[in-house]
């Protein structure tokens, strides 16, 4: 839980900046090199590297260097987050169904007793 909160903190910081949100949207359309991104957002290579670094730290973007070019793409975090949400949803139903098991057991016992009474 603490770990998850920390990850969200990092995401929050990463998303607090308009350029970084723009970069994510851009990467949603297509992977891009840092040079492409710097040009598109009218900033220096160093400036863009910093932004990408923050996004990478938050797990929102991954980068890969091939030769001299560092390519950026959307991170896997969205998928991981979905898996986490689904797990939470599963846990809710699991908790409900465990409680429902008890109700079912009780109704079964009751049916048995009632059945016995009817026979008597």
């Amino acid at each position: 839980m603490v770990q998850y909160a920390r990850a969200l903190d990092a995401s929050f910081a990463a998303l607090s900046d308009a350029t970084r949100r723009g970069v994510l949207e851009q990467l949603g359309r297509a992977d891009a090199s840092i040079t492409d991104l710097a040009e598109k957002f009218h900033m220096t290579l160093t400036g863009m590297k910093k932004h990408v670094g923050v996004l990478e730290q938050a797990g929102l973007v991954t980068t890969e260097k091939v030769g001299r070019v560092r390519t950026c793409k959307l991170g896997r975090r969205r998928l991981e987050q979905e898996a986490e949400w689904i797990e939470r949803f599963r846990q809710l139903w699991e908790a409900r169904f465990d409680a429902l098991d008890e109700v079912v057991e009780e109704l079964k016992r009751k049916e048995k007793v009632d059945g016995r009474k009817k026979r008597e």
Partner: protein, 172 residues
């Protein structure tokens, strides 16, 4: 002990599985150790329903639970976190087939799902399948993001932002 085990195999723990079958659909499955008439009863009598719908471990308590389980009948569940914020879930039953099928709407918002529950008897046990069909991918994503019940508000807002961002990226 061993003799008993031969006649009566140790029951396997009943696992709840959840699968996202499509962009708009979540499917929950579980087997119960009882016939469908009993399991169905627990879903359709409000006094039974309220005993399991809001388990303690979920951290919320059910403040009220009304369910008129007939075609066209309505239901309304109200939950609260320590008596502070009240949340209401409501809708209508659109299909009620005794011991085999229940379908209801979730009318809290226009992003609400239609929930279908089927009960299938297998050797005295009940295989239960619950499907939530959302009107759109965005609605299902939003519902999942809303699962962060215990999170402080800031995080909930961030989740919303992430979902919105995810959705807009997905569209582009």
């Amino acid at each position: 002990m061993d003799a008993r085990r031969e006649n009566e195999p140790t029951p396997m723990p009943n696992r709840t599985t959840v699968e996202r079958k499509s962009e708009r659909e979540l499917v929950v499955t579980r087997t119960f150790n009882g016939p469908t008439r009993i399991v169905f009863e627990a879903w359709t009598k409000p006094e039974l329903l309220k005993r399991w719908w809001a388990p303690k471990s979920a951290g919320v308590s059910l403040l009220s639970c009304e369910a008129d389980v007939r075609v066209g009948g309505s239901y309304r569940f109200e939950f609260g976190h320590d008596g502070s914020k009240r949340m209401a879930f409501f809708g209508r039953y659109i299909e009620v087939t005794p011991y085999s099928r229940l379908v209801w709407t979730n009318d809290e918002s226009e992003d609400g799902a239609v929930t279908t529950v089927t009960f299938e008897e297998r050797g005295g046990k009940t295989l239960l399948v619950l499907r939530e069909l959302y009107p759109s991918k965005k609605a299902l994503d939003g519902a999942l993001a809303g699962m962060e019940g215990g999170m402080p508000e800031t995080f909930e807002q961030l989740d919303e932002l992430l979902v919105t961002l995810g959705a807009s990226v997905g569209r582009a």
